[in-house]
């Protein structure tokens, strides 16, 4: 293997002189004071190789020796990852010793001794290709596939496969013979370089299946789909993290991967503390069982922060190859972009807008492009739904990360300071936010099947009413309550009904936090019914009075257990209130 010696140090960028070939992105370890510092090649100029070190470079001296590994930054994929807490480089945080993270400490992401009940699903003699399913194991009641090596080229024949029984991840469970006649031992571990997208599928069609999140402002107003992409920009204090946690708790997904990328450690601790207690509303199992957390908090090394989102995406692709529905959340992609900026700055590259690297847009779009709904080679489907948060500097959405993300993500959930100040949570702006999927004919066809063909027209009607309500609110502000016709007040208060009853939702209330699709349908129908009544009030005070009462009743209904006596009681009261006006 190639060796190098340190010739320069600026913060976590180190220059090496090397004695042989290296390739871009190759991993090397620099030896210093007994610690081995993992580093990645980011630039080569003649015999000078620039590497970014994933750790603190304190005390590093010229002349220190670096050893190249011959591979890029790659992670290990195998059963045993669920419920784990990793750092951005896939070190198992629970296995690390001591209270403080020690430099140069790398831990095994897998549990080598754990035995898995393996069941073969192919027979000797069968022809397979890379990523084809060979067998199954069950982890936390989730069936996982053991696949032919992702790197396998062309076709191969199964020479032998072990019988049903207990095996460790590193045990050979099958032997394949490739096209050249070479025998390939297969165990349960796959390796994959994180910066490369896995393209082991047949086709990536436009996604169309609604992904239920239980959050009304998303499901009803701006739905996201299995394999879809979305992003949540918002100034600090507008509830990005609460919304992300709500989605990851409630979404109808088989696997949830949360990449805490450069954010607060206490937020990760909250997940560690709560998820093992909370129940997945769709399966009744513990949430932690389907969750993997990649925690590279803001005080952990910057270069590993950049790696963390790729690590998370690669894990998502691994599970998608098994035909699972994966939800990937990254909080926040701005911190990832900032990590890129810090490095670009140290390499003295010419800066793009706001000193971000010029290729920021390309990196973001390639990353979002790795999500998607796919048909695997065996005809099964799998998906990665990706939702990233963006932390725009100064809350200004005209900044490079937001703008570049907007070009690629299909759903936009704009969190707004003004709504947050008014405690209208989730603070998703109903007018600026959008879901492109509402326009997909594939999605319309699916919704017609799953709900009915009136759903989308109704949603679009309410959206128009929200816009109209906002316009009228502005007029009332200028002209005063008496300065506009009474029916303007009615239009405005109808938009308030939509806001209070559908869009606002109490993430901390046990009942209101998650709304089933069936219940959302009922609420939507009710709100549409209210909006379609022509009330003909005499003066604006009556309008205000009536709608405030109506909002109160609807909210009490939202707080009541679905179809409970209390729920029916409130619904009766609402119907009675409406009856006088039909």
């Amino acid at each position: 293997m190639t060796k190098g010696t340190v010739s320069g140090v600026v913060s976590n960028m180190v220059t090496l002189k090397v004695d042989g070939p290296v390739y871009q992105g190759e991993i090397c370890y620099i030896e210093t004071g007994g610690d081995r510092l993992m580093s990645e090649v980011i630039k080569v100029v003649g015999s000078d190789v620039y590497v970014q070190v994933f750790e603190s470079t304190r005390g590093l001296k010229v002349g220190a020796v670096a050893e190249f590994t011959g591979h890029m930054l790659e992670i290990q994929l195998a059963p045993g990852m669920l419920s784990k807490k990793y750092d951005g480089l896939q070190n198992d945080l629970d296995k690390m010793e001591g209270v403080f993270l020690k430099r140069g400490q790398y831990t095994d992401p897998l549990d080598g001794d754990r035995l898995w009940d393996f069941t073969p699903i192919v027979k000797p003699g069968v022809e397979v290709q890379g990523s084809d399913w060979l067998g199954e194991v069950i982890e936390n009641s989730q069936t996982l596939k053991i696949m032919a090596p992702f790197q396998l080229k062309g076709k191969a024949k199964v020479k032998s496969i072990v019988p049903k029984g207990q095996y460790r991840v590193a045990d050979v469970v099958a032997v394949l013979v490739d096209e050249q006649g070479n025998e390939v031992d297969v165990n349960m571990i796959q390796r994959w370089p994180v910066k490369f997208a896995m393209t082991n599928y047949k086709q990536k069609p436009r996604p169309f299946k609604l992904l239920e999140t239980g959050v009304r402002t998303i499901d009803t107003f701006n739905p996201i789909v299995e394999g879809g992409t979305g992003f949540i920009p918002g100034p600090f204090g507008t509830g990005k993290t609460v919304l992300q946690h709500a989605i990851s708790k409630q979404a109808e997904a088989d696997i949830v991967i949360i990449a805490a990328c450069g954010e607060r450690a206490n937020e990760v601790v909250e997940i560690f503390t709560e998820f093992p207690e909370l129940i997945d509303p769709h399966t009744g199992r513990k949430l932690m069982e389907r969750t993997i957390i990649i925690a590279n908090t803001s005080n952990m090394p910057v270069a590993a922060r950049e790696a963390s989102v790729y690590t998370a995406m690669t894990m998502a692709e691994y599970y998608r190859s098994m035909g699972l529905r994966v939800l990937l959340m990254a909080d926040s992609t701005s911190r990832w972009a900032q990590a890129l900026r810090e490095m670009s700055n140290r390499m003295e590259e010419l800066p793009g807008p706001d000193a971000f690297p010029m290729d920021l847009g390309a990196l973001i779009s390639n990353f979002y492009g790795r999500a998607g709904y796919v048909y695997l080679n065996n005809g099964e489907t799998g998906s990665i739904t990706f939702i990233g948060t963006v932390s725009p500097a100064g809350g200004n959405l005209k900044e490079p990360v937001t703008e570049n993300t907007k070009k690629v993500a299909r759903c936009f959930y704009a969190l707004e300071q003004d709504r947050a100040d008014k405690k209208r949570y989730p603070a998703v702006n109903p007018i600026d936010s959008y879901s492109k999927y509402l326009e997909y004919p594939e999605f319309a066809a699916y919704i017609k099947e799953r709900i009915n063909d009136q759903w989308i027209p109704k949603v679009l009607d309410l959206k128009t009413r929200m816009l109209r309500g906002k316009e009228i609110a502005e007029q009332i502000n200028i002209l005063g309550d008496d300065g506009v016709p009474v029916d303007y007040h009615e239009v405005f208060w109808k938009s308030e009904i939509i806001d209070f009853v559908i869009l606002q939702q109490d993430a901390f209330d046990e009942v209101d936090a998650v709304t089933s699709l069936e219940r959302q349908e009922e609420i939507l129908d009710l709100v549409v019914e209210i909006c379609n009544i022509d009330f003909k009030f005499d003066n604006f005070l009556d309008v205000v009075d009536y709608f405030k009462k109506m909002i109160n009743l609807c909210k009490q209904m939202n707080y009541s257990v679905y179809k409970s006596e209390q729920y029916n009681d409130f619904k009766q009261q609402i119907v009675a209130m409406l009856a006088g006006h039909k």
């Binding site: 304190r58 209270v99 020690k102 204090g237 450069g262 206490n266 900032q338 500097a393 405690k423």
Partner: protein
């Protein structure tokens, strides 16, 4: 730090800028300290045998033949129980005339706590100030700044909070503090008889600006000693983090780095996060100590979109705003913009059950009062409800939000209930029946 016999002395400086010196040297470690004619400096760049040093007190008076000695370590602090009650400069040297500290040397700016070894914060820090305890409860292990204009009395509030909080140690890190404010803190702590709990690292406006880059790491190294090894509850006060950030931008500018927003270095977020994330609650297995950070970020004309408050807001767990209330003529903690992200971990759990509901109801009514005020100013007629809201707002601001109140949380809740009863009807406060049944009374 005396030189020892076998240390190599370099005497040929090849380049001097306002903040850095460069020379040819071998075997130098990154981040290592050196002295240049006795002035302390730190290695910031190594390129082959060219070494660039950042000189903390500035390069004025350094000759090209100055004696440069490398010390072989990055900045260290000697830690022991002797730290308690002492005042130090940015290098951790006593400035109170007392003897040098004996203890173990630890490198400052050490590694981060493994997130899985943290405990979710859950212990309330009572300050007696209702604007904090009632509306924005502080929790031990939290990190929270005051966002304040330079003329606001944030230092006074911070000193008060520190003295009232039941903590074992208070560590004050002063960055670019005026001499007058430094003496204010010294006198306040000494008058309160709290000096034995105080440890102070001070960089005043009279000291070189770059030195203050060491203050947060020094303060937190001391905090970690007491929290990790002595299992104590430590409160760290950092004032003012904006002058810390200004020093960062000076250094990055001198090193020809490309500035990002507001002339701040592109790494500002990571630089600030490394400091604030030292706030931690350790689990009982690790002794149960904690580090809580209360900082000050001064604003320019209340502008929170500036890079320093903006990045800080994304890192810290909330922020506190001060405001002068013209109705009562007192400084209050602004209930609208202030936020403690950790308050739901204690309110109603470590305090009375009605806490959250009462807090929200009061703030909602206070916001109705603000709307009524706008209405009044615009010349529209006020309803009876509007007038009652305005009266409520005055009492609420004077009796609760003002920074000069000192009550325990239960008293705060009782006062709020009495104001509700005085000005509103039961159905106007919108509080769950189970609480109004108990506290509304007759």
């Amino acid at each position: 730090m005396a030189t020892t016999a076998f240390q190599k002395v370099y005497t040929k400086i090849s380049q001097i800028t306002k903040a850095t010196c460069s020379l040819k040297a071998k075997g130098v470690g990154y981040d290592e300290l050196a002295t240049i004619n006795g002035k302390l400096a730190q290695v910031v760049k190594i390129a082959g045998d060219d070494v660039t040093l950042q000189v903390f007190e500035g390069t004025g008076g350094i000759p090209t033949n100055a004696e440069v000695v490398f010390l072989g370590t990055s900045p260290v602090l000697k830690v022991s129980d002797q730290l308690a009650g002492r005042f130090f400069n940015a290098y951790g040297q006593p400035i109170d005339g007392g003897p040098a500290i004996e203890g173990r040397e630890v490198e400052i700016g050490g590694p981060s706590v493994n997130p899985v070894r943290r405990k979710q914060p859950s212990e309330l820090i009572a300050t007696g100030i209702a604007g904090i305890d009632l509306n924005n409860t502080l929790v031990s292990g939290q990190k929270i700044p005051f966002f304040a204009d330079p003329d606001q009395p944030f230092n006074e509030v911070m000193a008060m909070v520190a003295l009232r909080a039941k903590v074992d140690k208070i560590i004050l890190g002063g960055m670019g503090m005026t001499n007058d404010d430094y003496y204010f803190f010294r006198n306040t702590f000494s008058n309160a008889g709290a000096l034995d709990r105080i440890i102070c690292f001070m960089n005043t406006t009279e000291d070189p600006a770059v030195e203050r880059l060491l203050i947060p790491d020094m303060s937190l190294a001391a905090a970690e000693y007491f929290a990790v090894e002595k299992h104590e509850k430590v409160l760290v006060l950092l004032t003012d983090m904006t002058s810390y950030a200004d020093s960062l931008s000076i250094v990055s500018n001198r090193m020809d780095q490309i500035p990002s927003k507001d002339s701040m270095p592109g790494s500002l977020y990571s630089d600030l996060a490394k400091i604030y994330e030292k706030a931690v609650q350790f689990p009982d297995e690790a002794g149960g100590g904690s580090i809580t950070i209360i900082a000050v970020t001064t604003l320019s004309g209340g502008d929170i979109t500036h890079a320093v408050p903006d990045n800080t807001g994304y890192i810290t767990e909330g922020q506190l705003y001060l405001r002068r209330d013209s109705d009562v003529g007192k400084v209050i903690i602004d209930p609208f913009r202030s936020l403690s992200r950790l308050k739901q971990l204690v309110s109603g759990k470590k305090t009375r059950k009605d806490h959250s509901q009462v807090m929200n109801a009061a703030i909602r009514l206070y916001s109705d009062a603000a709307n009524a005020k706008t209405k009044m100013e615009n010349g529209f007629d006020l309803t009876d409800y509007d007038n009652r809201c305005l009266d409520f707002a005055k009492d609420y601001a004077g009796q609760l939000l003002a920074i000069d109140v000192n009550l325990d949380t239960t008293e705060m809740l009782d006062v709020t209930w009495s104001l509700f009863r005085k000005y509103f009807k039961l159905e106007e406060v919108n509080i769950k029946k189970e609480f109004t049944d108990v506290y509304w009374g007759n």
